[in-house]
Symmetry: C2
Subunit: 174 residues, 2 copies
């Protein structure tokens, strides 16, 4: 499998404000300007945390928003049910490693899911769109960790007021 992060952050590195809100993001311009549709078509499996699921659900049904992918929500709740999702619990690294080699997995949101995957060196590609806003506080994309990780920057693009930075995993043995 390959694991891909794709998402927006503020200039100070937050995925969302302290209340998990995205109003600042919508105020930064239209996501239509990006190549999101082309990206989504390449994805087989969507993985998100429960907080991200709650935010996505405010915009509509996950079955409509992510219609062609298998969508997993990590949660410790047994009672979470919604159209278009399957719930999972436990270790995200173990879960990801069991997925077939030809599948492309999009990690939506979720610093809490990203951190163990970065530590396990399982993140193959990151598309990070930087919005021109210093939020001041919020939910960080990258949590504090006792390790460092180096990537290869493979592309830099501009979409309106967003800068998109693309990073790939270092080849093995480097």
């Amino acid at each position: 499998m390959s694991v891909i992060f794709y998402g927006c952050v503020s200039l100070d590195g937050y995925l969302a404000d302290k209340n998990h809100g995205l109003g600042w993001l919508h105020a930064s311009g239209s996501p239509e300007e990006t190549e999101y549709d082309a990206f989504y078509k390449t994805i087989d499996i969507v993985v998100m945390g429960r907080r991200t699921f709650d935010e996505v659900s405010k915009l509509g049904s996950v079955a409509d928003i992510y219609p062609t992918t298998t969508n997993y929500v990590f949660t410790s709740r047994n009672d979470l049910e919604a159209e278009g999702i399957q719930t999972v619990s436990g270790d995200v690294v173990t879960f990801i490693q069991k997925i077939a080699a030809d599948k492309r997995i999009w990690l939506v949101g979720g610093g809490g899911l990203l951190a163990p995957l970065l530590e396990a060196q399982l993140v193959d590609r990151m598309y990070i769109q930087v919005a021109p806003v210093i939020l001041g506080d919020g939910i960080p994309l990258f949590q504090k960790q006792p390790y460092s990780r180096r990537f290869v920057m493979s592309d830099v693009k501009r979409y309106g007021q967003f800068a998109e930075l693309v990073y790939d995993r270092l080849p093995a043995n480097t």
Copy 2:
């Protein structure tokens, strides 16, 4: 005066590692690839904190590194003396506001100096070079703050493994 930030950060937003070290940065490629020389020629005054001064001093004399500018170091120590610098203490906002209108000020390093200037909406331009490294922890460029600040992204460039993002202050009344 105009106030400009120009500097490198890790992908997770740190200016330096926890020990104020920059080894991760030097490992990311040569700064010669950027337009630093052209940038420095436009600057009249350099302002830095004492920690940044200590780091710069490891590379050589400030008088040699910043030879054509007036260089101020913010410090509460009275005994700091070095060739090519003047020490200042007190409020950075008050200090900056007294500088003549035609002067261009480069804020080197220093999340601690940047924060009050951002709050006072005195930062006119930021050149941020993003290195392809998740450091995990360190000295953040943007400190946590109870306010948000929106900028206008005016340029995105690539220099080897660095992405340079350029932001300008929003015009007044927006």
